[in-house]
């Protein structure tokens, strides 16, 4: 009876949470357990919550432009904590040109505005370990 557990988090100082909430609901409707940690999370908080909740997926939303700094930081912290199997995805206001660098840093996929939520669900189902 294993469930896919997803941490949905908003790192940094960005107060726009509608997207994250829409994604959280879609993931719940897909049968996942979603731990929504809300706004203004530090990378350290995200990584620690991911550890305590033993999540399969960390899904981060950011609209402030701080993704080049914050996303890789979370990836590294998760690795340091021994959570190597976590699927890490992101979304929000992220320019296409930034995506290759994020993937290189360990973000499995970036889902920009307009992406059908079904695509996110399918990606998780196909790639979760």
């Amino acid at each position: 009876m294993a469930k896919v557990r997803v941490l949905v988090a908003k790192p940094g100082l960005d107060g726009h949470d509608r997207g994250a909430k829409v994604v959280a609901r879609a993931l719940r409707d897909a049968g996942f357990e979603v731990i929504y940690t809300g706004l203004r999370q530090t990378p350290e908080q995200i990584a620690e919550a991911a550890l305590q909740e033993d999540v399969n997926v960390v899904a981060m939303s950011i609209l402030s432009g701080a993704h080049p700094h914050l996303f890789p930081k979370v990836v590294n912290l998760l690795r340091e904590k021994g959570m190597d199997d976590v699927l890490i995805i992101g979304g929000g206001v992220i320019p296409e040109t930034d995506i290759p660098a994020l993937k290189e840093a360990g973000i499995a996929e970036v889902f920009t505005p307009g992406t059908p939520t079904g695509d996110i669900v399918d990606f998780i189902k196909a790639n979760v370990k």
Partner: protein, 312 residues
């Protein structure tokens, strides 16, 4: 990683993995529980229940901080409902306790009810045991209290706190739902809202009328959790209750009862699934189902025969 060995050393990832194995009923879960068991029985378990929106998580956050100030370590299991239609859940209690994430003395785990028929109670109890073995002094089990399964979860607790809020319109209904019987300590949160004093009076009247079987009169404390008001008094009430049950042999009785319930839970769920799986594997299950549908036999006859075969 040897999960139990690491857990006993204080490795948080090991604790987390142990709880996952327990929740998902991995093969190693039984082995983990067998190894953990001797190291349990030390933690004080506090059940926190009440209707949705009563402020349980906010209150848990404040109580946890107060216990931390006393130097105690805290584990929190926050339970939210799983959708019976999709099997998914939004586990949204943790968000009220964000300030505790970086406190190394606190471990918070969110769990969904996962819609099992009473199975939740033994998984929650096992998760409590994992935190107990890990060394947590106090473990909170926080759940929505609107039904039988929540009462079962509460069996895992030494002290149960019921959290209510004024102005729900159906104060008496909430009281009638059996919540009165399971509350050792009552907390009226959002006490700055209209109707707080009225609720306290109504609760006291119900407690007066109720045929209480012990000498313990549950205290009723008004709090405003979000403003940290009434927290000290609430802790005092919890400690008073714990002292009472420790001194009167009630704690011993409860823990005996709990051990018995755990035995029965594990017995029923394991034997039940073992037999079910065997029937499914051999194709017998489909056979029986068709026969039952055609009224050639019935579930009772099938099971009686199975039992006769097994207990020869």
């Amino acid at each position: 990683m040897d999960i139990v060995e690491e857990l006993l050393k204080g490795n948080r990832l090991a604790l987390s993995r142990a709880i996952t194995a327990i929740e998902n009923e991995y093969d190693e879960a039984m082995d983990i529980m067998k190894k953990l068991y001797p190291h349990t029985g030390h933690a004080f378990v506090l059940g926190i229940t009440g209707p949705p929106g009563a402020g349980k998580s906010t209150l848990t956050d404040k109580l946890a901080r107060a216990y931390r100030a006393q130097g105690k370590t805290v584990g929190i299991i926050a339970i939210d409902p799983t959708s019976p239609f999709t099997g998914g859940a939004i586990l949204g209690d943790r968000i009220r306790m964000n300030g505790l994430t970086m406190d190394e003395g606190v471990f918070i785990r969110s769990m969904g009810t996962r819609g099992s028929l009473g199975g939740l109670s033994h998984k929650t109890a096992d998760a409590v045991k994992a935190m107990d073995a890990f060394g947590k002094d106090i473990i909170f089990v926080e759940t929505v209290g609107v039904g039988q399964s929540e009462v079962d979860i509460v069996k895992a607790a030494d002290t149960t706190m019921v959290v209510l809020i004024p102005g729900m319109g159906d104060d008496i209904q909430a009281i009638k739902a059996g919540i009165l019987e399971i509350g050792d300590v009552f907390t009226i949160n959002k006490a700055d809202h209209d109707g707080a004093d009225k609720l306290v009076r109504e609760m006291n009247m119900m407690l007066d009328l109720d045929g209480l079987m012990t000498d313990w009169r549950p205290p009723i404390q008004k709090v405003i959790a979000s403003q940290n008001e009434g927290i000290t008094e609430t802790i005092e009430n919890i400690e008073k209750h714990f002292k009472y049950i420790s001194e009167n042999g009630i704690l011993t009785k409860r823990r005996t009862e709990r051990s018995k319930n755990e035995m029965l839970d594990v017995l029923h769920s394991n034997i039940g699934s073992y037999i079910t799986n065997k029937l499914v594997e051999t194709g017998k299950m489909d056979e029986y189902v068709e026969q039952i549908k055609a009224r050639e036999t019935d579930p009772y006859t099938v099971v009686s025969n199975l039992m006769k075969d097994m207990l020869k």
